[in-house]
Symmetry: C2
Subunit: 197 residues, 2 copies
DNA sequence: AACTAAAACAACACTATGTTCATTATTTTT
DNA sequence: AAAAATAATGAACATAGTGTTGTTTTAGTT
């Protein structure tokens, strides 16, 4: 069994590249980052970059993949909780906590005008599970309604995430999770603590 | 007064560029479109491109700006309806209809994994108006709650839009508008026609 | 110590970029 | 209809980035 991926040199190199990458991304959009520039800042040879990645977008994908794997690992015990209804607030809180832990990457991919496809992937991870549950709970809802509902709430959660990041993560993960739950379940109605119409 | 922008030649050139651009975008992501390639497909000289745009992203911005102006013009009578509560369903339907009319651009910017910043701009257009209204309607809601609510529902609507596009625009604008309204107002609760818990 | 693999280094052909300038074609003004 | 203005073309240019290859140096593994 090769140990190539665990080579100390490789880990160091990849860490240097990742650090340079996220640093540059704070100041300019990904489309104007050149490999040459990245390597100069990371202080590695350009050939070394090609040893690990094909281009800038491959680099982004691989970094995202790493975080995605981390998320899956963190959520594994929850997913395996079986058919007993899991504590959704706990689940959501864990998700948001995990995202907060990876703030350096998320601040780029989720930030104001960043690319949201990664966030969509994260949310989509729970898609099948949710659709199934909703289908059981709301028997009169058509599959189409459930699909559109999921499309709405998953994107809505991303919007919530972005605002959270834009505000500097000052709200606690638990609070955000609670807000997400309320918004998904009751929509605007959750503001209606005092109004009857 | 110069009439440069109304020059027939300019309009033809820009139309050629736009057509080539949206055509290419259907097959490959924007980051791998080169100016050279675009000009070859548009059958214009590369220098001519630089006469109107600085780069590919400037081109995208200008095209988006055009549609945005069109939307504003379409919504103008609605916005000017004054303090009388406008018919929200009508407003929403009009918005979705307008988007459908510009499907060729939207299918790219709103499509599955496209860039959502443009859609955010569209939605943000109504932001101030909404925040004001919600503030009046829900006096016990904190400004923070309203901000997060808006972040949630605006992104949610974009998700709805994307699903709409991915499904090939088979649902009518009025149906989508109704769904958006229900989801914003009641969240998951709108599926609860038959369930009491 | 010997072996293995990563990283650095240098060189290469190739493509795209952005700019310029003279020329041609088209529109607008007079 | 002629003259003036401006858009588009085409060619040339320096510059920069890309992707690849082969060799040498360095660090890790056995």
């Amino acid at each position: 069994m090769k140990t190539s991926k665990n080579d100390h040199r490789t880990r160091v190199t990849k860490a240097l590249i990742r650090k340079a990458f996220t640093t540059i991304l704070r100041n300019k959009p990904i489309q104007s980052i050149s490999i040459k520039e990245l390597c100069e800042i990371a202080e590695i040879n350009r050939s070394t970059f090609y040893l690990h990645y094909t281009d800038i977008y491959d680099l982004l994908n691989q970094i995202e993949e790493e975080m995605f794997e981390g998320l899956k690992a963190a959520l594994k015990p929850v997913v395996e909780s079986g058919d007993g209804t899991p504590n959704y607030l706990t689940v959501t809180t864990e998700i948001f906590q995990c995202i907060k832990d990876n703030a350096d990457l998320c601040i780029v991919t989720l930030g104001s005008y960043g690319d949201k496809s990664f966030a969509m992937r994260l949310i989509d991870y729970g898609r099948t599970l949710c659709i199934e549950n909703y289908g059981k709970l709301y028997k009169n809802a058509t599959p189409q309604q459930i699909e559109y509902f999921y499309a709405f709430v998953s994107s809505g959660c991303i919007g919530l995430l972005q605002k959270w990041f834009d505000d500097g993560l000052v709200v606690t993960p638990a609070e955000i999770a609670s807000m997400a739950e309320n918004l998904m379940l009751y929509g605007l109605g959750f503001l209606e603590k005092d109004k009857r119409q």
